[in-house]
């Protein structure tokens, strides 16, 4: 029982990170028809912005995180949109997919060359320590990850549904033509989406790196699992993608513990393929009427 709870809680804590990455992934798809194959590297990078801030510039952690956020907004938000997506999207979805594959390589290799090929310890914002709960153990870091990620997801949902700006972004995502007719500055809304994604990956990066260390190739696994999460949950619906993140985190842990550790990744991939074939809009997604 304690073990089951342990796996569940650990799965949820990791799943929270997947959820953040998957939500950003879904946002980009909804609003800008952008499939970001570099989303994993996007999560990897901000941790190195922080490390560059503390190690190279000698900044205190808080300031370094702020710097990382600003850099992420500029590079992973603005620059990514202007230099990659804007010129390529008119050619279709596929060129963007291929370009983001290249972006992923670029980010990964750049970090390796210009920072380090080695895994880096990353400062935690939370004190060490653990909490025992019915035979399971949670570290304060886990609790912080769950709390912060949960709050961020909640805040994002409130922002998207309750504020004027958020609703304008939603409208743009759902039907850009109509949004334009309604006088919504859709181009700016699309830009905001990219910025929001950059903020989400920065948050994910800062939450995950103290636990799993910062390393240039962390994005490979993380990106793959975030895609699976988004698609399994339903990536035309942000709520679906978030639920998918938690689900995938939990399934991964239970699968590894009770099914097969050899085929650990395979279990998730089978889930992915089954969902795509049987329920392409995802478990919690909205069915998109396929236009012929």
């Amino acid at each position: 029982m304690g073990n089951v709870l342990q796996l569940l809680l650990a799965g949820l804590a990791t799943g929270a990170i997947y959820a953040l990455a998957a939500a950003g992934f879904a946002l980009l798809w909804q609003t800008a028809r952008t499939i970001n194959f570099a989303q994993g590297e996007f999560v990897m990078l901000p941790a190195f912005f922080v490390l560059a801030g503390t190690e190279w510039l000698g900044l205190p952690l808080g300031l370094a995180i702020l710097l990382a956020l600003v850099l992420a907004l500029l590079v992973l938000g603005l620059l990514f949109k202007r230099a990659i997506v804007d010129p390529l999207l008119p050619q279709g979805v596929l060129p963007v997919v291929i370009a983001t594959i290249a972006v992923g390589i670029l980010l990964k290799e750049s970090v390796k060359e210009f920072y380090s090929a080695e895994a880096q310890p990353f400062p935690s914002l939370v004190a060490g320590g653990t909490l025992h709960l019915a035979g399971a153990v949670l570290s304060l870091q886990d609790i912080a990850v769950l709390l912060v990620a949960g709050l961020a997801i909640l805040a994002m949902q409130l922002f998207l549904t309750r504020t004027r700006l958020g609703r304008m972004m939603q409208a743009t995502a759902q039907n850009p033509e109509v949004a334009l007719v309604l006088g919504i500055p859709t181009r700016r809304m699309v830009l905001y989406t990219f910025l929001l994604n950059a903020a989400l990956v920065t948050l994910a990066s800062i939450l995950i790196s103290p636990v799993y260390l910062a390393k240039f190739d962390n994005g490979e696994t993380l990106g793959l699992i975030a895609f699976i999460a988004a698609i399994v949950g339903g990536f035309n619906q942000i709520r679906g993608a978030i639920a998918g993140g938690f689900l995938v985190g939990v399934v991964d842990n239970f699968g590894a513990a009770y099914l097969s550790s050899d085929y650990r990744t395979g279990i998730l991939l089978l889930l992915l393929i089954a969902v795509i074939l049987l329920r392409p809009h995802g478990l919690w997604g909205r069915a998109e009427e396929r236009t012929v």
């Binding site: 010129p87 290249a102 290799e109 390796k112 698609i231 395979g266």
Partner: protein, 316 residues
């Protein structure tokens, strides 16, 4: 105009002579690189059929190279001739490729990219975990080089000519295929699947065929790769090779017949050209891919076409 018309054959002749004679001036490493280029070009031409001509994205081509490589390695180390390994490898490639096509009937574009990506990783896991068959992480050592009409190909130069001959055969076969109505149906599928279907083109069947044939060509490349490196394990056939093959096709020019020749050449030679940059060559490569995508949607072969004004696109 007449000069433009002669340019194609003239370039072809020059490239052929270069490919035949250049290795004579090279030592082991240069010959190995050219052999590797020939093998990767075959694999990329297969992907170019699926992606460039039929418009179906596949991120699993590397796994198909693996299927061919394992078929060849297992059979030749058990004493069977490579020809059998090739037949089995290509046959397996056709079957698994056909199966991989089924998801493409339901989902397109990015979804298809994910499904095929998942398939690649699953196949990799099978290569790695089913060690009773594949030798698992230990791989298969001592893969012999074939004898062609009684001639041993142990010498790197002789084996290079074998690789080149395979490449030319594949190029010829694909050229004929793409000129045939099948090729035209593939292109119609890429250009406008709904219209193609309304004109009687069975898009389901052609989609499956595009996957099966493109994948089988990838497997054929694998059957040459195994005796080239003489040792295989699962790692070369993970997602990385699929992504690299995809980038080769795109850089060379997706849907351009000779695009993979150029794309593979750049992928193989770029680390050499950028030797001064040490590890940075991948950064440059990624930048090159992005620049090509943004500024040259037709890939590098697209420039060649633009330069030869008056010539038509290489279409069926």
């Amino acid at each position: 105009m007449s000069a433009g018309r002669l340019a194609g054959p003239a370039i072809g002749l020059a490239v052929t002579i270069l490919l035949l004679l250049l290795p004579l001036t090279l030592r082991g490493y240069g010959i190995y690189l050219m052999s590797l280029w020939a093998v990767l070009t075959i694999a990329a031409m297969g992907l170019n059929l699926t992606l460039g001509y039929a418009g179906q994205v596949s991120l699993a081509q590397g796994a198909f190279v693996g299927i061919g490589a394992y078929a060849a390695a297992l059979l030749t180390t058990a004493g069977w001739p490579l020809a059998l390994g090739m037949a089995v490898g290509v046959g397996l490639g056709l079957i698994v490729g056909w199966l991989l096509g089924y998801p493409a009937l339901r989902v397109q574009h990015h979804y298809l990219a994910f499904v095929t990506l998942g398939a690649n990783t699953l196949l990799f896991l099978v290569f790695r975990n089913e060690d009773w068959l594949t030798g698992g992480v230990y791989g298969i050592p001592g893969i012999p080089r074939p004898r062609i009409f009684g001639l041993a190909t142990d010498d790197p130069l002789v084996f290079y000519y074998f690789c080149l001959a395979m490449l030319l055969l594949v190029t010829l076969a694909l050229g004929l295929l793409l000129r045939s109505p099948w090729g035209r149906a593939f292109e119609a599928l890429r250009e406008n699947p709904v219209r193609a279907e309304s004109l009687g083109i069975d898009t389901r069947r052609y989609t499956l065929l595009a996957f099966a044939i493109g994948s089988a060509v990838g497997s054929l490349a694998g059957t040459v790769y195994a005796p080239l490196v003489q040792y295989i394990d699962p790692y070369p056939f993970a997602l990385g090779m699929s992504l690299n093959l995809l980038l080769m096709v795109v850089v060379g020019g997706s849907g351009r017949f000779f695009g993979p020749w150029l794309g593979a050449a750049i992928a193989v030679l770029l680390p050499e050209w950028l030797r001064f940059s040490e590890g940075l060559y991948l950064v440059f490569y990624a930048l090159l891919v992005i620049l090509v995508l943004v500024f040259l949607p037709g890939g590098l072969m697209g420039i060649a076409e633009r330069l030869r004004l008056g010539r038509r696109p290489v279409a069926g």
